[in-house]
Each structure stands twice: as C-alpha cells, then as structure tokens.
C-alpha cells in the first residue's frame, strides 16, 4: 500500500506542476489512460502530452487530492477531489471542483491502466457550458458508453 500511496503522490504532484514527462513516466509503455472528457491515451508520451497540451489548454491551476486508497494485487482505487480554473471560451474566469473515483492497474511498479468516474454535469455546469450543448455532449458520451462490451447485457 505504501508503494501505491507514493505513486499517487507523484501522480498528483506531476499534474499540479504541469510536468508531462514526470506524469508519463508513471505509466508503462503500453499503458492506457482513459480521461473522462478527452478519451483514451496510450503510452507515456501521449499521456504526458495530454496533460501539457490538452488539460492546460482548457484550464489552469490544477489541484488534485487523492485519499482513501485501496489496493489488492494489481488493482487499486482512490477517491479524490480535483479542481481547476477554466481557460476555454465558455469557462475563462470560472472555477470547477469535482469529486471523483480513480481505478489503477499496476505492472512492474507502474500504472498500466487508468480509469476514472466523475460527474461531467457538475463539471460543465461550473464551467458555464450552455444547456443545449450539454445535451449534445451527453448524447455523444451515451453513444460511447452503449458501445462498451460490458454494457451489452443492459441493452
């Protein structure tokens, strides 16, 4: 568990410092990072670039606090609060706080997979995204969700 706690500390420090290299270095060469807004990124370079080029294009002053970590073997989770100041045309001057859960898979002391669950409705509302645009985004994300194989029994 100490190793997991240490990795989480390095994870959040890298994000808050906009350090794409340090962030990417936490992941295996074939690691998958599924960002809830931007989608999937594979490998340390793409994951580091996601942080530097995408996140920090849309926002500033990222803060991430992880807590209540649990790890068993190659699978772990942590709860977190995540916040940033908006920098896009809808969000400049606005501040968003999210409450999230992250899932991590491990291999060889690094992360080989990252998934997260958060509420985009709360995030977009704080960022001033218009309601009709939210409906469109919701429809797109629904389509992506319904295409997942583990959803099939529910259709």
């Amino acid at each position: 568990m100490d190793e997991f706690v240490d990795l989480l500390a390095r994870f959040t420090r890298a994000v808050e410092a906009r350090d794409g290299a340090a962030f990417g270095a936490l992941f295996t060469d074939d690691a998958s990072y599924e960002d809830y807004v931007y989608g999937e990124f594979v490998g340390p370079k793409a994951i580091g670039d996601m942080l530097v080029d995408l996140w920090w294009k849309e926002g500033r002053d990222y803060k991430w606090t992880m807590f209540n970590p649990v790890r068993l073997g190659d699978l772990g989770y942590a709860e977190s609060f995540f916040s940033f100041n908006g920098a896009s045309k809808h969000s400049v001057g606005k501040h968003a706080v999210s409450h999230c859960v992250s899932q991590f898979r491990f291999r060889g002391g690094k992360f080989c997979q990252y998934r997260e669950w958060s509420d985009t409705l709360a995030g977009f509302t704080q960022m001033g995204v218009p309601g009709d645009l939210m409906v469109k985004i919701g429809a797109r994300k629904t389509k992506q969700l319904l295409a997942r194989p583990d959803v099939a029994p529910h259709l």
Binding site: D61, K63, V101, A139
Partner: protein, 160 residues
C-alpha cells in the same frame, strides 16, 4: 468468492429483486447510502424506504453488475454497469444505462456507507431531461461537493 464480493452479490440481487428490506439489512444501524439523484439515507429502514418508495416509484427493471472489486480494512471499491427503465414525466419508459464506481464502508460484514460516482449528464440525457432541469440538478450536485470538508483546499480559486 471473498466476503466482499459475496456482499456485493447480495447488494445487487436485492435491488434487482425489488427487495428494499433485504437491501437495507446489508447496512449497519448507522449506515448511510448516498444516492446520486436522491441524496443521503441513514439506517436500514430509511435505505429500504429509498428502494421501495422512491426507486420503484421512478423506475423499474433495475439491473446492476459489479466488477473489479477490491477491499482492505474499512474500505472497498468496485465499478459497475447500472440500468433501469424510467417512469417519470420526462421519459416514456426508456431504459437508462450508466456506468460508475462505488466506495463501500465496511464493518463486521456489513456496510457502514455507500457512495457512488456516475455521470449524471449521460443518465439525464437518456431520460429525456430538459436542459434547464439538467442545469438545476448540476447545481445541487455542486452544492453537495462544496459542502464536504475534504473539498476545502479546492474551493479557493487560483494558485495554492
């Protein structure tokens, strides 16, 4: 099957069977269930009422699949796929499907707490919720996030 995965099996089976009483019994006397839509319920009787009087009023044919469960000490987590057929004025019997993750508080084989994370935008869009109602709902979620002491560091805008 571990004790935690056995507990999760009973958790989902009682919901799918519309058995609020059996569901409530999975919780300690002071156990809390924080529902993403309806708020917090405390104790087996209130949690049973949440299922029997609220969930079953607003939906039917609930399905819940838990996976990737881990537990250690006082906490467990799992992620899930959850669906139901809506029965409110904004939808006409459409099935809503969402995925999410949950954190379980654990003590002596029972649940001391349940909290979930899922994308309300995806859920409400499937249920035909008008944009203005979505925004109001988003506002309530934001209030809940900001009211939590652990979020204090994140409420101050700008650099820390």
């Amino acid at each position: 099957m571990s004790e935690f995965t056995a507990l999760l099996s009973r958790f989902t089976a009682t919901v799918e069977a519309n058995d609020g009483v059996a569901f409530g019994r999975l919780f300690t006397d002071d156990g809390t269930y924080e529902d993403h839509a309806y708020g917090r319920f405390t104790g087996p009787a209130e949690i049973a009422r949440m299922v029997n009087e609220i969930w079953l009023r607003d939906g039917r044919d609930y399905k819940w699949d838990m996976r990737d469960a881990v537990a250690e000490g006082p906490w467990g987590y799992a992620n899930f796929t959850f669906s139901f057929v809506g029965a409110t004025k904004y939808n006409d019997g459409r099935r809503m499907v969402t995925d999410g993750a949950a954190r379980f508080g654990l003590r002596d084989g029972k649940l001391t707490s349940y909290r979930e994370w899922m994308d309300n935008l995806v859920a409400l869009q499937q249920l035909g919720t008008p944009p203005e109602v979505m925004l109001r709902f988003g506002g309530k979620i934001i209030d809940r996030i900001r009211a939590q002491p652990a979020s204090a560091r994140h409420l101050k805008e700008g650099k820390s």
